[in-house]
Subunit: 210 residues, 4 copies
DNA sequence: AATGAATGAGAGTTCATTCAT
DNA sequence: AATGAATGAACTCTCATTCAT
């Protein structure tokens, strides 16, 4: 990417440094939470001087924004990997669930950092502008799945897709929240969510009600 | 909080002071978040010296625990006011919903502080011992309602009461979370939750399911 | 000494209280040193309120003076118990040594507190006025013993009694100082002191001692 | 410490700063004692910000250790200056005495700080590890002199070198201690010490003891 | 004689940030 | 691009002392 005369050490391109910094910051957030995040610790972890860190990232606020952006990028990449071609709504819901389950168990750090930042976003609009779309996007994905499913009859006709989406994301986040305290079965929750939304399996006289 | 004829009064009983301190701390948490909580600000707001504050509450940690306890007491009091005598499961669910709606709109501070402390509890066991039971209790209440409802046929027979409870609390908290960003209709969410869990209202040919 | 209606608790005569306070203070100095002495700890140990302590002893400075006085009284009492009637200079020296040895092993607290106060006395004249005479008195006692011993020929004729006294007290204190770090034989030191000061054992009839 | 052409200069090398800090701390200990040592005062005296002081020396404890080390270094340097080549035991003893006399009169600060730290060392092992060897070394030097002197017959044959060394250091320290209160003649003490340890000047029948 | 509550004046320590090189 | 040194502004906490009862 760039001609680096000393490829092994010290001088690195700005972009690379910022990547390392974001990674280090995320690691520390995982370990000690946002409240335990110290610029000095990040610099130490990256192996640079605190002044160098400030050279690349002007302030702590900017640093947190950088972390938020790095998270968003990660989620976008992940989202792109999921193709929705030729899948039924129910299948897509299951894929979303599987994805979440996998993330929770394999890269829980992602969720830890996400949670921390979403909390922070409430009070810090500049973080909000990055995080809120992320969360909203997640909910919208579910809403869209539900809409499709209602149309093809796999979900209840009286399902409110937006409300159902919020319920789903809420259930998943809450699962996460309580999982950190006392591990519970995510499968139970997901199964219940499916039962809650799918069309009555005994679709007798179809006039559900107003 | 009480009509004080001598506004300049200094000496107060320890219990009263602790109450005032907890209230002041809560107000500041609402304004600036837990991370913005400073002992000096609390002392100022109560109108006492910082050393006096430390006389009543030995450390910042103890202070946060005090806030947690005060929250717990508030919720206990509130919970006791709700009688469940002669109410059907569905009615009780509605009452819980109404209660939540009311709290969100009338004393959102309570929830703001609650949220902040639950987040903190993850990393601070001494807060956890106070907060986790609170949250768990809430979930258990829902679980019990669902169990009753399943028994009397008002809720789906295949409902998993524990999973449903987690979904419900998750939905409500998530509603709260996103409400702070973009107010949405809580009624929509609650209505959807009811539809998700109640027994199929079209019990035509009684053989509901396999 | 005083008519006390409630002999079991609380109200005690001022003198008694001051005695208890001095004792508690000494105990704490032994445990944590003068620098670790807190008025609150003393009050706790005596079982009274911090304000009550200040009622009896107006300030911390006065409190330390009180401790110094209590020490002095103890030493005076001890000194009076030693009769010098009909004893030879050498015997009296031995008695002084035995006394010191006993104090070091049986009530080292006395010496700990003494050392701490003597150090403090250097910077605090009001403590100095109490402690210096104490230390000086000790040295003078040795000087007098030496003077007697020179006169009756048991000590070297060219002995400088004042210098010898200073050497003796210095050796004993230093023994104490280094004993706290690495216990050594006090008998060795004392034996050497005797050899250093007694008249040349060789010239006379050589049967010096057993 | 070095002629600085720009008195307003700010940036200095870390080592230099640490040297300045140690010196300032020693000066304050001399003035107000260890208990009167305040980090802020040190910073002021060095002419740096309190945070800068913490940048160079992480804590007050470390600062005191730094002072202890600086003392040790001073004594080591001083000790190296004394050559013991071709000197008799008596001469070497005299040199030690001269050295002490000189230090007491020319740089009493050294001894003040030394005394303060030795006292502290008793309760603070991390200071002890630095100070105790210093004091022990001093005593050992005397012991060695005495051993040599006994061998060449200049000191009493029945002299216990270790006990004599302890007596000597004790006498010197005690001289110092009482000197601060009421100046006395150090020469008297030293002369007496010599008389106490040298071989009987009336070396009649040379077989001193059995 | 005794106490709970209150306080002023600091103490040591922390941290994001900046400056000079 | 990088760094050692420096800093202001805070922060939590401590302690001897005093006041009102």
């Amino acid at each position: 990417m760039h001609s680096d005369s000393q490829p092994t050490i010290k001088r690195e391109s700005g972009d690379c440094r910022r990547l390392n910094i974001a990674a280090a910051a995320r690691a520390i957030i995982v370990e000690k939470g946002l409240e335990g995040l110290r610029t000095r610790d990040i610099a130490d972890r990256v192996g640079i001087n605190i002044a160098t860190l400030h050279y690349h990232v002007p302030s702590k606020e900017a640093l947190i924004a950088l972390v938020a952006e790095s998270l968003r990028d990660d989620f976008r990449t992940q989202s792109l990997r999921r193709s929705r071609e030729g899948k039924s709504a129910l299948q897509r819901l299951q894929i979303e669930f599987d994805e979440f389950r996998e993330t929770v168990h394999e890269t829980p750090e992602l969720i830890i950092v996400l949670t921390a930042l979403i909390e922070k976003a409430r009070r810090h609009p500049e973080i909000g502008t990055i995080m809120t779309p992320l969360y909203t996007h997640w909910r919208h994905q579910f809403a869209e799945i539900f809409r499709t499913g209602i149309a093809d009859g796999s979900f209840r006709a009286n399902l409110d897709p937006d409300a159902a989406a919020l319920i789903t994301t809420g259930a998943l986040s809450d699962y996460w929240r309580q999982w950190t305290v006392s591990p519970a079965s995510i499968d139970q929750v997901m199964a219940e969510l499916v039962r809650a939304f799918i069309a009555s399996q005994i679709p007798v006289s179809s006039k559900d009600r107003s």
